[in-house]
Amino acid sequence: MAALGTDAAIAEGFADPVTASQEHFRHLLDALSRPGRIVELGAGLPAAPAPLSRGSYALLLSLLDYETPLWLAEAGEAAASLRFHCGCPVTECTGDAVFAVAPGGAAPALEEFAQGTPDYPDRSTTLLLEVEALGEGGQELVLRGPGIEESAVLRVGGLDAGLVGQLRANHRSFPQGVDIVLVAGSRIAGLPRTTEVEIR
């Protein structure tokens, strides 16, 4: 892990932050309100600092500020860039994170992240999982729950098989639990805690 630091290179942010953050928020709102739908964030995303994908970097640039501690599985240049653009604290404690980013193949256990409390279930982590592919790939997930009329099928590449079992436990702990956004390049798909996940 590079030092969270001083001499790390700073990646570029949005050219037009007002428009870009509004558009990316709406895409994310769409993805989380309609689990299973693959949403394209569009062309022209800024180049992402290592180890983030363009999609994750754009979502974080859109939503973070001084109120949102960020946890990164691997800090790299990303921590310095996001601290510079958003002013967000970077935390090493998963339980403190409002937003977190981890690779879909090697993420910490979901229960390590903030789950919210019975009184305030909203105080939980939103976890961006970087996967290899969306709409293709090895895992075929069948999703049910709010936002889905009957059921939806989502193909994911590069998601740890053990994580799918954790997603089911996460759903069972509703209304507490983490909310997940799968990110593959500039494509995203939402898996909020309301979604029931099965492997086909």
Binding site: T19, Q22, L63, D65, D119, Y120, F174, P175, T194
Partner: protein, 297 residues
């Protein structure tokens, strides 16, 4: 019909950020909205800002709309179903001025519809967002004034007190007398206030393809119903939920399936009933429907 244009004149106001709110405020509201969607019916606290109009005039709805709206959006605002009342016109103009977005009175053209106390008669579609203005977000507030207690009741899903309230109506009056703000159970978990919409509109919330967002500015709460989410109005097996019905059709367009307002027309106490949804009514009149034209819906 031509594409929507800005019916309120154009041009953004110099010296203000896009859609009035500053970017940090928008981010804070956006994060609350994302959590609200992930926990349907749960009221997410947010740091509601002072707006350039008083509480009770839709400050919550305006903040939600301001956090969502983009240059491509087409905005419609209704107040009790009407596009042409003071509150609706002033909020529409507010966004026409501060965001320069296109505005419309037509439900089908709108991508965001901000509403006070109605759901449009025309079924909403997938791309649309309905933003409700909410005065009292807590459905249990008049039964339990302490926030700490109502929060605990929600945490435990302990809603017996609400059923007792509905039962007391039946014991006293023989029926559930609540006709607006009729409580609903969202996704089999949270009891939620649908805002003061008439109970006539409650069934439209169930499995609606549009995203429904709720903003309460004074009470500083945001909540949501994602598309295709189960929404059930509370009732009893022997006293099932019912919506209002009228003996006569709309006096202007002849509709029998829409929510009607009673309008007193003179000092002699004469009255008429007409659609509360002005766009729905005008569309039917334009299509040649009327009180004598034979009714379909």
């Amino acid at each position: 019909m031509s594409a929507a244009t800005n019916i309120d004149g154009g041009g953004t106001l110099a010296g203000y950020n896009f859609a009035y709110l500053d970017e940090q405020t928008k981010r804070m509201i956006r994060r609350a909205l994302l959590k609200a969607v992930a926990i349907p019916g749960y009221q997410v606290p947010f740091a509601s800002r002072d707006m350039p109009l008083p509480y009770g005039w839709g400050t919550g709805g305006i903040q939600v709309t301001a956090a969502c709206i983009g240059q491509e959006d087409v905005l419609k605002v209704i107040d009790q179903g009407a596009d042409d009342t003071t509150n609706a016109v002033s909020i529409r103009r507010f966004f026409a001025t501060t965001a320069g977005v296109a505005t419309t009175e037509r439900t089908v053209e709108a991508s965001i519809i901000q509403t006070r106390h109605r759901i449009p008669e025309k079924p909403l579609t997938e791309g649309q967002i309905l933003v409700y203005q909410v005065p009292i977000p807590e459905p249990l507030r008049f039964l339990e004034p302490r926030e700490r207690e109502t929060r605990k009741l929600h945490a435990l899903a302990d809603y017996g007190v609400m059923h007792v309230r509905l039962y007391e109506d039946i014991a006293r009056l023989g029926r559930i007398a609540t006709s607006y703000s009729y409580p609903v159970l969202v996704n089999d978990r949270y009891v939620m206030s649908p805002s003061p919409i008439p109970k006539f509109d409650n069934p439209k919330m169930h499995m609606n393809p549009a995203l429904q967002l709720f903003g309460a500015g004074r009470e500083k709460r945001i909540y949501a119903i994602p598309p295709f989410t189960k929404v059930v109005s509370l009732d009893f097996e022997d006293h099932p939920f019912e919506i209002q019905k009228w003996d006569e059709p709309c006096a202007i367009c002849g509709a029998t399936g829409s929510y009607l307002d009673e309008v007193v027309t003179d000092d002699a106490g004469n009255r008429m009933f007409c659609c509360s949804d002005t766009d729905h009514c005008a569309e039917r009149v334009a299509a040649g429907e009327g009180p004598g034209a034979g009714e379909s819906r």
